[in-house]
Symmetry: C2
Subunit: 150 residues, 2 copies
Amino acid sequence: MADVLYFEDLTPGRQFRSGSRLLDAEQIKAFARDYDPQPFHTDEIAAAATFFRGLAASGWHTTAIMMRLIVDGEFRPAGGVIGAGVDELRWPRPVRPGDTLSVVSEVVESRVSKSRPEQGIVRVRHTTVNQNGEAVLEIIGNHVVPRRPA
Amino acid sequence: MADVLYFEDLTPGRQFRSGSRLLDAEQIKAFARDYDPQPFHTDEIAAAATFFRGLAASGWHTTAIMMRLIVDGEFRPAGGVIGAGVDELRWPRPVRPGDTLSVVSEVVESRVSKSRPEQGIVRVRHTTVNQNGEAVLEIIGNHVVPRRPA
């Protein structure tokens, strides 16, 4: 269990890791039924004839799993993992049944908030990789993080 | 039910609408238990003392609901709603229990793919609003859309 992190701890270049999670076809289809019921996410046979050429996880399923891995991992800002927004979200490669995902988070830059000087904005590149180390999701998150109390 | 849309149909300025969906506290907590188990998403009492000052949906829950509303709505490209990536994702306002969400999608720009001239990339601003018309989620999605067959 990592310590709680304040703005001052989140210096550019610092990296944080998550645990890992195995995703199976049933989980992919269950999420898709609720949130993204398109054939490439719900049915192996129908998926074969689509852009994805086989069953693939919804991109929003992958972001949700990324979030769970981050929340359970080393990147643990005081006040929680709170995003003011995300830049440059990319899914460079599909997530397939049987993939095991994990996240590496690296601080890109940080600045004190102009409007609220008791907190900062920390830009973090969160890269979700599969069991082969291939990126399946890359985001740059802008996190709201409190400064260390005096 | 809208017709299936090809690249040529998705001209800048064209708008598409979704139906709406009511979100309650149980749904917010159920998603959070699976994907984002932080106190501001799982427990009304604990949430009161946090940044959000009350229970709020996980931002990734909001994106998932946005996706479902889009998939069921008027924006229906041939081949499915497929995102090559997202730029400028913002959550300008929390989603609260009792909020009713809907999505307006507007084409921002479109271009034929250089590497695959049989398809195009269409940039679409998807704005998710609550029952008061206030934006709770804004994204610019880069969609892969086939050109109309000759």
